[in-house]
């Protein structure tokens, strides 16, 4: 989550659902929390019952809207304008939390004179290279910071103007940048009446300050955009302006969709990261040696000065005794990334036949992947495919049961893909831990053995690895050295020869290589190879032999200390140093969280301080100090080299130091702000014949399409469509449209309609409801179509996959696809069968534009 990572320092939710009860206002946007996180929503309801105001901004009137005090319908894809207008509102109305802003954020920092804003360059920031379609961020740095390719920019020394008056200071640049984000623009571009916007803005800003706090809740409604990261950035700026970060009832709650989706980025099954958010080495001189690599990522000041300790300890965990100072701790054995290896990209490679094998573990791309139609066809081009799941998913069955087979595009006897389906174990059939949306590691105990051949992923990977390592040991070529050295001697127990999950957790936590005793914190890690650690941010979860803190089950306080283990170091609310004044005393009694206890010479309070406990508020570093010692006692954002919250991101983002509004790849309108820049410049649309796009606007595709989930189902349906008790609650695919749109398309409630995009077509029942509202955008009516994406061609309840309509595209920072805010058309009647349906679809695309 670079949106949060670059703004605050860590790519994780700053707060927890449970802390929302302390909020005085809650802005839920880009999230349908009541439907997708119902149990977390109990805290919102409780807050509302205590008097907090709940604002929901969403294209649809969902079950979340039904419970909110205010619902504002907006056009999908216009989020940045709404948030930008809130930022402008705060500045114009002088609602910012000055003291917080000046001390804890880089609002006062002076920016390089070379910087030019999008407002001057009509939609691009300075440093844009049209050839490479990328930015050179040099001009975004603080004034005086020297750009370099070999080392991170030094941001520890900067000029600043505490009065925030200097024309080149971040605050003033911010003010200029968002000057055009007026309530009028919100009405014109988002479709939200000005008075409604102002009411919401008043409600939210009035609930901020020393005595009060307001929280922001978001989910994939923000992230799944071609400018998703910048939308989150805008929220971060808003929350820092209002002084809501690091304080009870404040912050930004990122709601994540899967049991361990936070965990799977902390310990990433992602191509460009190593555990603990260490970057994968990229091919080139920067990764020639460990030294080259470290020099590019270790900062002089701030927490990342410890970078070398974390990477060396990881290599020691991976390669054990074989990793020595002499051989760069095996750094040379790590693969270098040389292209876009994310699944957005590799599906296209697969479709061109450039992939031989694919492992799908607990995911169902044939339904859940963007442009699922293309992905299903790509599967047929593989040599071999391994699928592990509880049920035979669409991904495992694509070769005989998919729409493509019925339409004659694929013929089973012509598909050369060799397919292995392995039954997986359920959560109650194995030990292990999930990391939930609030960065909390929670252990789940094994209750019973999995049935028959069903096994855990741990078992599968462990035994697959054992076999492969044996091959490597028999074949001593450089390419096999890493595999041969891989520490893989996990103890196996039981008739299933199952590895012990706790042994793996101990490796993740880290240990001293001399005696294998667990380390108690990442502060114990060293760069000399004397420690090994599988994921530094998780250190402390297994601080002593047999001491598994993820397993702790006695909550002592409201923040849940004693129940599970929150990374880092069991801190429940991040950056909580900011909950106290610069002098260390709470901003207010009502909103106290951690504070400086002068008698004890230590930070103390209701949460574990996210700060060096002994560092005095009035501590001032020596000029040549490094690491955390280089940060003063009033700098709460300790992972940043300057210890500040970043309203302005001088480095780390691919699409600009400030958020700005760009239209989605497909939009019914032109970008109201920039004549020459419609979309996010570095965003990659991956255009292609099978990944085609509509024009913006496009008479063939006049309606805005947004896809989403329902409470009754889970993502691609593998864990819900096969269960009678869930399937009966939402038995059929439907699409939600307004009465006006129904009239326009001559569709009646309950009828079949076919939704068409340049990628594909799906049929659904028409759910005609006033919960969908037509919006007036730049003077003309814009209709939105809502489509849940749970159904597929298998399970108890079947339906077309909404993702057949979605394109494969990549947000520049995290490479996420855009599923909110596409263009579509609506045709009365069913999609039709066989090749005929395909022909109809193609002729539809050939309509005049």
């Amino acid at each position: 989550m670079p949106g949060l990572g670059t703004s605050f320092g860590r790519g994780g939710s700053t707060t927890a659902p449970g802390d929302l009860v302390n909020a005085d206002a809650i802005l839920i946007m880009g999230s349908n929390m009541a439907e997708n996180h119902p149990v977390g929503f109990q805290w919102v309801i409780e807050a509302r019952e205590r008097g907090a105001k709940v604002i929901h901004v969403d294209p649809r009137f969902s079950r979340t809207s039904a419970m909110a005090d205010q619902w504002l319908p907006l056009r999908a894809g216009s989020d940045a304008i709404f948030l930008g207008a809130l930022i402008r509102y705060v500045i114009e109305k002088h609602r910012e939390f000055r003291e917080y802003l000046v001390h804890y954020t880089n609002a006062s920092v002076i920016i390089a004179d070379e910087f030019r804003d999008t407002e001057e360059l009509d939609g691009v920031f300075s440093g844009w290279n049209p050839e490479t379609k990328s930015y050179n961020p040099a001009s975004w740095l603080y004034r005086g910071a020297a750009p370099s390719d070999d080392v991170p920019p030094d941001l520890s020394h900067y000029e600043s103007d505490p009065t925030l008056e200097h024309p080149r200071c971040v605050f003033q640049l911010l003010k200029k940048h968002f000057a055009r984000y007026t309530p009028e623009l919100v009405e014109a571009a988002c479709g939200i009446p000005q008075n409604a916007f102002v009411r919401a803005a008043e409600t939210f800003t009035a609930a901020s300050g020393p005595e009060r706090t307001a929280a922001v809740v978001y989910s994939v409604g923000w992230t799944q955009h071609s400018n998703g990261v910048q939308v989150i950035r805008a929220a971060a700026i808003l929350q820092m302006l209002l002084g809501n970060v690091g304080r009870p009832g404040g912050g930004i709650l990122a709601l994540r969709g899967h049991a361990s989706i936070q965990g799977s980025t902390d310990i990433p099954t992602l191509y460009d990261l190593l555990p603990g958010y260490l970057p994968m080495p990229a091919f080139g001189p920067g990764s020639r040696s460990l030294a080259d690599y470290v020099s590019r990522h270790r900062t002089r000041t701030g927490w990342w000065a410890n970078f070398d300790k974390y990477i060396v300890s990881l290599l020691r965990a991976y390669y054990g005794e074989a990793a020595t100072a002499a051989n760069d701790f095996g750094f040379g054995w790590l693969p270098r990334i040389s292209a876009d290896h994310s699944h957005q990209g590799y599906w296209l490679d697969m479709n061109e036949g450039r992939m031989e094998g694919l492992f799908v573990l607990g995911q169902n791309p044939a339904v859940g992947g963007p442009n699922a139609r293309l992905e299903r066809k790509a599967l047929a081009k593989l040599k071999w495919l391994v699928v592990r799941d509880l049920v035979e998913t669409e991904t495992a069955a694509f070769w005989y049961d998919s729409p493509e087979v019925r339409r004659g595009e694929l013929r089973p006897e012509e598909i050369a893909t060799e397919i292995f389906f392995f039954p997986a174990a359920g959560h109650a059939e194995k030990d292990g831990c999930f990391t939930n949306t609030q960065r909390l590691l929670q252990w789940h105990e094994k209750a019973v053995d999995p049935p028959a051949d069903a096994r855990s992923e741990t078992w599968f990977i462990c035994h697959l690895g054992r076999r492969l390592k044996e091959k490597a040991l028999r074949d001593p070529r450089p390419r096999n050295a890493g595999l041969a050295a891989l520490t893989w001697d996990y103890a196996l127990e039981g008739e299933h020869t199952e590895p012990r999950a706790e042994e793996i957790l101990a490796e993740i936590n880290g240990f001293r290589t001399s005696d294998r005793l667990p380390i108690s914190s990442y502060t114990d890690l060293a760069a000399d190879g004397s420690t090994a650690c599988g994921c530094w941010i998780y250190s402390g979860v297994y601080p002593g032999p047999g001491q598994n803190r993820a397993r702790e089950r006695n909550a002592r306080d409201a923040h849940g200390h004693g129940w599970g283990f929150a990374w880092p170091s069991d801190r429940r609310i991040l950056y909580n140093r900011a909950s106290a004044r610069p002098d260390g005393s709470p901003w207010s009694e009502r909103k106290k969280l951690v504070w400086w206890d002068d008698a004890a010479h230590s930070w103390t309070g209701l949460d574990t301080p996210d700060f060096v406990a002994s560092k005095r508020p009035d501590y001032r570093p020596a000029p040549d100090a490094t690491g955390d010692a280089a940060l003063a006692g009033d700098k709460p954002f300790i992972l940043h080299p300057d210890g500040l919250g970043w309203l302005w991101v001088p480095s780390g983002l691919k699409d600009g130091p400030l958020p700005t509004h760009y239209e989605p790849h497909e939009s019914p309108v032109r970008n109201p702000l920039y004549s020459t820049q419609q979309t996010n410049p570095p965003a990659d649309a991956k255009r292609g014949p099978e990944n085609a796009y509509a024009e913006s606007p496009d008479p063939r595709f006049p309606y805005v399409l947004t896809t989403y989930r329902l409470t009754e189902h889970h993502t691609a349906g593998g864990m819900s469509r096969t269960l009678p008790h869930l399937a009966e609650l939402q038995p059929e695919m439907f699409c939600e449209i307004s009465p006006q749109l129904a009239a326009e398309c001559d569709v009646r409630h309950g009828e079949w309609v076919t939704v068409v995009t340049p990628r594909g077509f799906v049929e659904a029942r028409a759910m005609v409801t006033p919960r969908m509202r037509q919006l007036r955008i730049h003077g003309r009516i814009v209709h939105q179509v809502g489509l849940p994406y749970h159904w597929g061609f298998r399970g108890l309840v079947k339906g077309d996959a909404a993702n057949d309509l979605v394109s494969i595209s990549e947000e520049p920072n995290v490479r996420i696809m855009e599923t909110k805010g596409l263009l579509c058309n609506l045709v009365r009647g069913r999609g039709g069968e066989g090749p005929a349906a395909l022909r109809r679809f193609r002729s539809f695309l050939e309509r005049p534009r």
């Binding site: 994310s342 031989e356 094998g357 389906f421 831990c433 129940w563």
Partner: protein, 185 residues
């Protein structure tokens, strides 16, 4: 006969009174009714669906699941579950669940069953062969050490330990770069 009579509620009605809606009309089964989770073993667990991380109590007896309910002590969920979480028991016990390895040979039009160990051997073979074909150790005499023709997808519903092993084996061991899952940082 006497036994039957003694169990005839009508006689209880005559002797003990009652209008036929009270204890006199109850059967032994009703009187002895108890919740099936009583006396079952409990495993502390976490809901496998969304990322809120609701606490679950998994009740089991003699290696069989009995029920799955919310954990009242959890500060995250306070014992509550959503419809999906509340359906976790069915998730693990429903009829549609697969419990055997299935194998589809190239160009085949049917699934075959396969022995688990055999399947593992075959998968290991496939990985090795593909890696052999595509592994690149160097480019422009800079280390590359990657194989780009094997991809991995998944993980967001897996345990941290599972993801750790996946990353360790695929990336640090095999040099697979196309490792991905639905999660985005």
């Amino acid at each position: 006969m006497a036994g039957f009579l003694s169990r005839w509620p009508f006689l209880r009605q005559i002797t003990a009174g009652g209008d036929g809606t009270g204890p006199e009309a109850m059967t032994d089964a009703t009187r002895e009714l108890r919740p099936r989770l009583e006396g079952a073993e409990i495993a502390r667990s976490v809901c496998p669906y969304c990322a809120v991380g609701c606490g679950q109590l998994v009740y089991h007896r003699e290696g069989k699941l009995v029920a799955i309910e919310g954990d009242p002590e959890s500060p995250i969920s306070r014992g509550r579950l959503c419809p999906k979480g509340a359906d976790s028991f069915e998730l693990l016990t429903h009829a549609g669940r697969e419990t055997r390895v299935k194998y589809r040979a190239p160009h085949s039009i049917r699934w075959e069953t396969l022995d688990l160990e055999r399947a593992m051997e075959m998968v290991a073979e496939r990985v090795w062969e593909t890696r052999e074909r595509s592994f690149i150790e160097q480019r422009e005499d800079l280390p590359l050490m990657q194989t780009s023709t094997i991809a991995h997808l998944g993980g967001a519903t897996l345990d941290n330990e599972e993801n750790y092993l996946i990353k360790k084996l695929f990336t640090a061991g095999l040099g697979v770069v196309a490792v991905s899952n639905q999660a985005r940082i």
